[in-house]
């Protein structure tokens, strides 16, 4: 294709340099401060899974209080200190810490690092036929900044007063007058923001610059497209939160009044400070990030689901172009819908109309994506292995989550539903049985590439079945509660007469959550067991077409023995007159 591509970077060179110093790096350089995108991907993956488990643990604890407010937590209640759960009874302080940290950890330390940091890092360079990310050192820094950010967040559990407790949204003035935990939260966020900034630059440059010869943009696997758009969201949406975090830190530490209006009276004390600030400013800056952020949670998941569906139906994705266009359009629109979280802040009519119109518009590409994915099943020969089960289950779950976004997006119905459990139900359907299922699917799917072994199908199916049942058990009741007006973030919902009739649903939801926790045991066991004792498999166990499956397993430093050349689109399955039912992108023969 170009002289440049051959000059000194040809296949032979690739092979040599890999052979000469690929293997003899000291342990700490190979596995700790590694610059290899695959190791970094796995570091991200393991850390994020642990955070996910931790964040889930926090909410399982909270669910006790939701179900049986004011009663001592059985078994483990005694293990906690007196300023969190004296006598096993959870204090409101602790409850709100759990809530804020659950949201923060799940979003910023769990799902995004897993979807982008782990899957993006591991799979994208392989799928585009690159030897690594464009900036390996930045990649390493990105992970370590994430790690430090996570440590700061965790550290705040151990300081007097505990963690942040103003919700993951950290609305001022509450967050400004809150205790030290909030400062930790802000500093932790600063690390995470910079980590994702480095990561997103890296992804954009890698995908634009390092595609293998022949890997044109319309031959990119759908997953890569999803990551590409995601990287832009991270790049351009996070900085405003960085700005907002700086302002909030100033408010807390330098006693400025960015978010503090004049004349505040807390506990009958006039708050010192100049005043003149505006709490709504924070909301704008926060949601300018946080709405794109929720699409960061879903786009990679859609990408994973697309890959797995194509592979396991043994046919190409339906409407590849429409899918790609929709993803780009969603990414673009996601920057201009943010204030649908703020309909009831006294926003003007024109603004409110603008944001509900954009919100309705952004639902259309999601409908197109969901339609194209389900039509991709049509005419296939569907192989129901564990990754496929999770991927297929993603579709209706995302459908429920997405559809319930509509009544929230119309400001009139949002008057009743805002800040009720309906909202909690809405977004958990998209992120929990939606994104988490897609991520599970991805783990089962790419595990053989990462380790050379397959995870157990039997345990996988057990994991799937119970996860599906209990996920719905946790979140379906929330819609009913939300309709009845039950508000979110309630330490003791039974305080309100209107919440009492649906209280049995809270119990149901909690029991489901704990069972969901139990349902993860086969997964965790399967995961670690299979690393060492899983069934050994060859390079391409699923008979897939994308490039990562043509690399050796596990891929060595530098990935491909010979720099791949790409000849065709990503999903050539069941091509007539071809000898196999899959036709890898880099396979040379002409028919």
């Amino acid at each position: 294709m170009s002289k440049n591509a051959v000059n000194g970077h040809g296949p032979a060179a690739a092979h040599d340099s890999h052979g000469s110093h690929g293997h003899d790096l000291p342990f700490w350089q190979k596995y700790i401060f590694s610059q290899d995108h695959k190791i970094i991907g796995m570091q991200y993956g393991l850390t994020a899974l642990l955070f996910l488990l931790f964040g889930f643990g926090l909410v399982m604890l909270m669910r006790w209080q939701f179900a049986y407010p004011g009663q001592p937590v059985p078994f483990i209640g005694g293990l906690f200190s007196d300023d969190t759960m004296p006598g096993g009874v959870m204090l409101p302080e602790f409850f709100y810490q759990l809530g804020a940290m659950h949201g923060t950890i799940m979003v910023f330390l769990g799902i995004v690092p897993l979807a982008v940091g782990a899957f993006g890092n591991y799979v994208v360079p392989l799928q585009i036929g690159a030897p690594d990310m464009a900036f390996p050192k930045l990649n390493m820094m990105s992970y370590w900044l994430y790690f430090i950010g996570g440590c700061v967040m965790l550290a705040s559990f151990f300081i007097p007063g505990g963690t942040a407790q103003s919700g993951w949204t950290s609305y001022p003035p509450l967050s400004v007058i809150a205790g030290q935990g909030q400062t930790f939260w802000l500093i932790g966020m600063a690390f995470l923001i910079n980590s994702s900034l480095l990561g997103s630059v890296n992804f954009i440059v890698t995908i634009i610059q390092l595609r293998a010869d022949g890997m044109t943009f319309n031959r990119l696997p759908f997953f890569v497209w999803a990551q590409f758009v995601t990287a832009f969201l991270l790049l351009l949406a996070f900085p405003p939160l960085m700005g907002a975090a700086v302002l909030q830190l100033m408010d807390r530490l330098a006693h400025t009044s960015f978010f503090m209006p004049s004349g505040l009276v807390v506990n009958d004390q006039v708050v010192a400070g100049s005043g003149g600030g505006n709490p709504v400013l924070w909301q704008h800056l926060f949601w300018f990030l946080a709405h794109p952020e929720v699409y960061v949670l879903i786009l990679p998941a859609m990408g994973i689901v697309g890959e797995i569906i194509a592979c396991n139906t043994r046919k190409t994705l339906y409407g590849y172009k429409a899918l790609v266009d929709s993803v780009i359009f969603i990414g673009f629109m996601s920057f201009i819908v943010w204030a649908h979280h703020m309909f009831l802040t006294g926003m003007g009519t024109k603004m409110s109309a603008f944001f509900q119109v954009t919100t309705m518009i952004i639902s259309i590409p999601s409908v197109i994506i969901l339609t194209a994915l389900v039509l991709s099943l049509w005419g296939g020969s569907i192989r129901f292995n564990t990754p496929m089960l999770f991927a297929v289950a993603f579709l209706p779950m995302f459908g429920i989550g997405g559809l319930t976004g509509l009544p929230l997006g119309l400001n009139a119905s949002d008057i009743h539903l805002h800040d009720t459990n309906y909202v909690i139900g809405h977004f958990h359907y998209v992120v929990a049985p939606g994104t988490i299922f897609a991520l599970f699917a991805g783990i089962y799917h790419w595990f053989p590439k990462m380790t050379g072994r397959k995870m157990s199908e039997v345990l996988g199916k057990i994991h799937f079945t119970f996860s599906l049942i209990f996920m719905n058990g946790v979140f379906m009741p929330m819609f009913i509660q939300g309709m009845a007006g039950v508000l979110r973030r309630m330490y003791d919902p039974t305080q309100y007469a209107h919440a009492v009739p649906t209280q049995p649903l809270s119990v149901f939801s909690s029991v489901s959550a704990w069972c969901l926790g139990l349902a993860q045991i086969p997964f965790i066991f399967n995961f670690f067991y299979s690393i060492f004792f899983g069934k050994k498999v060859e390079e391409n166990p699923w008979h897939a077409t994308t490039l990562e499956w043509t690399a050796p397993t596990p891929p060595p430093h530098g990935n491909f023995a010979v720099a791949p050349q790409v000849y065709r689109g990503p999903y050539e399955y069941s091509t007539p007159n071809h000898k196999n039912d899959f036709w890898p992108q880099s396979m040379r023969e002409t028919n």
Partner: protein, 199 residues
């Protein structure tokens, strides 16, 4: 291993840019959004304050800030001259211009610290009013960017320049990237100056 990654020193044949250049611009795009958020906060607070908002020229030191503007602009020029010297394969001149750039950056910071010191003496702190709050925050954040630029440029002046012998193209790419960043810091100041000091 690094040599495996393409387009480090030579531009990509289709996009026409190197990785470093594209990466730097992406980073600057994110910086635009960062300062965008802060300028947005400025606008919102100012609109909210109405006539209570002071005019910067009445309470800030315009001559000092003008001096600083000139210093920063000059440092931008020395930065492009440093790049041009490298393109002319003149490492000595590059050193000279880069050194000047760093020096000017220090001058900027010194002037800035005088300005801050003066304010503190008169008991004007970030907590004094929202005007001072945004003034200190914006100039402070900008100052941090200047310090970042000094670190990068110093690296490229001394240890980093060893790359010049090994791979002049890559080294030039790095200097150019540092230059882009430095001009961006200048560019932010070009807006900060009238917005805070003159209006």
């Amino acid at each position: 291993m690094e040599s495996l990654i393409k387009h480090i020193s030579k531009p990509h044949p289709v996009t026409g840019v190197t990785n470093a250049k594209l990466g730097t611009w992406c980073f600057l795009a994110s910086e635009i959004m960062l300062f965008g958020a802060l300028f947005s906060s400025y606008v919102l607070l100012r609109v909210g304050a109405g006539t209570a908002w002071p005019r910067g020229s009445d309470i800030l030191n315009v001559p000092l800030a003008t001096l600083n503007t000139l210093v920063l602009i000059t440092s931008s020029v020395t930065m492009v001259m440093a790049c041009a010297s490298l393109a002319l394969k003149n490492l000595g001149k590059y050193r000279l211009y880069m050194g000047a750039t760093i020096l000017l950056a220090f001058v900027f910071l010194v002037v800035k610290s005088f300005e801050y010191g003066h304010k503190f003496e008169h008991h004007h702190f970030p907590s004094t009013s929202t005007f001072y709050a945004i003034y200190f925050t914006l100039t402070g954040l900008h100052g941090l960017h200047v310090i970042g630029g000094i670190v990068v440029n110093t690296y490229l002046l001394f240890p980093g320049s060893a790359l010049w012998k090994k791979d002049p193209d890559q080294f030039m790419g790095r200097v150019e990237a540092a230059g882009l960043y430095w001009h961006f810091v200048d560019l932010v100041w070009i807006f900060l100056f009238p917005v805070l000091y003159l209006l």
